[in-house]
Amino acid sequence: MKLHTLAHSRTGDKGDTSNISIIAYRAEDYPRLCEQLTAERVAEFFAGLLGPGAAPVRRYELPHVHALNFVLPGILRGGVTRSLALDAHGKCLGSALLDLELTPAKGR
């Protein structure tokens, strides 16, 4: 199942760092997102964009709004002002992340 069916997302930029929110539509899916969407998994998903020297991806939890916030330093390669990228802000990154495949929830 794609992450897109369980969660929505918005991407922000500051300097050459992006932050990507992943917000569960339903509170009951939040634990599953917490379990499967590790900082390492997100870093792996964007490995081709982050480059080898990038600082580690950080993950923050916002339990009352059942959301995760991923911070990706260096992914904008110089930031909006210098980047040659078509999407220099990295605004489309969150939508791409929603393509991530989730494994079925564990039985309870």
Binding site: H4, T5, H8, S9, R10, G12, D13, K14, G15, T17, N19, S21, I23, Y25, F46, G48, L49, R58, Y60, L62, H64, V65, A67, N69, V71, G78, G79, V80, T81, R82, L84, A85, L86, D87, C92, L93, A96
Partner: protein, 441 residues
């Protein structure tokens, strides 16, 4: 005052104008705030001011003010509406003059006050180091602007001076919204929990339509009504900093827990430490509660002591970016576009064009997030962009793409080219005491 009503009239410099007019006319507002300065807007404005000493403020300032000023000031049957905006950009004094002229033309008696002190270029020393590792000395004359992110201080002073319109340069976005809350409710400058809550309100409102259904729709998953007539948001705030986010009844868009949550996390790193010049806000325990259609209560924000240093954004010239694009369609489109890319890159090498960085990609295939296996598309667009120190080099990027017409693979069409000077932005920190925000009426 029991309930303070603050509306958000712009989320960036080029934003739509009618939703702001709708708020001014029908929002029953006490304040209408326009946030119009992105990271490098002020550096670009400073360049404009160099060519025109009376310029350097927001190009839409005049049009916005003409449309909303008739609703501003003391009114017989409605609340007194005041305007706060950072549309002063690199020249708040000239911007204020311009607004006074418009008020005169409209026959309005309004007190327009400018906040200055964010321009700290004269205070910087050559040995100071930017966050990108470069010293100011190494950038030399390429530095064009240095603006400190001011907090609420100057705006508070302007409101105490009975300003109807407050025009600032660089002020932290949430501070534009926090200042009227502190002023109306008499919050102390070290009342951290209330300042944290007021900063949440500012953060939710500062991108205007982004909390009321803009930048949200995903058909079939997140549907939004009538985006063409998106209503901009307003907050109803109580003296404790409790707030309901809503919009003018009948406008398009949507205010929901989901729209508020997306905006809560937008451009935030550690939600427990959102730094502004006024407070270290804590959004980590925020929650949202539905209070009816398009009405959402925001609660749970907190705050603690403010940073001792202010962030300064430094704008500097950093070469040129040249770009060219060309489309290919029909069977074999990708193969021809790839051949075209190889030809352009080879040509740039043969001609000895000096590039600091170059990027060549196929829009529709790999331009956003890199390549991935997919079916052959009906069309694809080649894009080549390079950053060069010299303008004369950058200009050749687009030209070379254009020559694909008669020299490249078959069937290229719709060539376009562009050239722009790079105004890069980096930052450093200054002690708070070194910066002196003040008003000029």
């Amino acid at each position: 005052m029991n309930t303070l009503r603050i509306g958000s009239g712009a989320g960036y410099s080029g934003d739509r104008i009618e939703p702001a007019v709708e708020l001014a006319e029908h929002g029953d507002l006490d304040y209408l705030v326009f946030e119009c300065l992105a990271e490098r807007t002020i550096a670009l404005a400073q360049q404009a001011r160099i060519s025109d000493p009376q310029g350097g403020y927001d190009p839409l300032l005049g049009e916005r003010m003409r449309r909303v000023l008739p609703f501003v000031g003391a009114q017989p049957v409605r609340r007194r509406l005041r305007v706060i905006t950072n549309m002063g950009a690199a020249n708040p004094l000239s911007a204020a003059e311009h607004v006074r002229r418009i008020a005169d033309e409209l026959g309005l008696d309004l007190n327009v006050v400018a906040v200055v002190g964010d321009d700290v270029l004269p205070l910087l020393r050559p040995e100071q180091v930017l966050d990108n590792g470069q010293t100011l000395a190494s950038l030399g004359a390429r530095v064009i602007s240095a603006n400190a992110y001011l907090g609420v201080d100057g705006i508070l002073e302007a409101l105490r001076a009975e300003a109807d319109v407050v025009i600032t340069g660089r002020v932290a976005d949430p501070s534009l919204f926090l200042a009227p809350q502190m002023f109306e409710f008499g919050w102390a400058a070290d009342d951290w929990p209330r300042l944290g809550r007021g900063t949440l309100v500012g953060h939710l409102l500062e991108c205007a339509g982004q909390v009321s259904g803009g930048y949200f729709a995903d058909p079939g998953f997140k549907d939004v009504e009538d985006l063409a007539r998106l209503g901009f948001p307003l907050a109803e705030i109580d003296a404790e900093g409790g707030a309901v986010i809503t919009k003018v009844a009948g406008s398009g868009g949507r205010v929901s827990r989901a729209t508020c949550t997306e905006q809560l996390i937008y451009e935030v790193h550690d939600p427990a430490a959102y730094l502004t010049p006024d407070v270290t806000a804590d959004f980590s325990q925020v929650s949202f509660v539905d209070e009816g259609v398009d009405r959402v209560r925001a609660q749970g924000a907190d705050g603690r002591g403010r940073p001792s240093q202010l962030k300064v954004s430094v704008g500097y010239l950093d070469g040129w970016i040249g770009e060219g694009q060309m489309s290919y369609g029909g069977p074999g489109a990708i193969a021809r576009a790839q051949l075209a890319r190889d030809v352009v890159l080879k040509r740039l090498e043969l001609m000895g064009v000096k590039m600091q960085d170059v990027r060549a990609e196929l829009i529709g295939i790999d331009s956003l997030h890199g390549p991935r296996n997919s079916v052959e598309p009906w069309e694809v667009r080649l894009r080549v962009a390079a950053r060069c120190e010299e303008r004369s080099d950058a200009v050749r990027i687009g030209n070379e793409v254009e020559t694909l017409y008669t020299n490249g693979p078959s069937g290229g069409g719709g060539a376009s080219k562009s050239l722009r000077q790079v105004v890069a932005v980096a930052s450093l920190l200054l002690p708070r005491d070194a910066v002196n925000p003040r008003i000029q009426a």
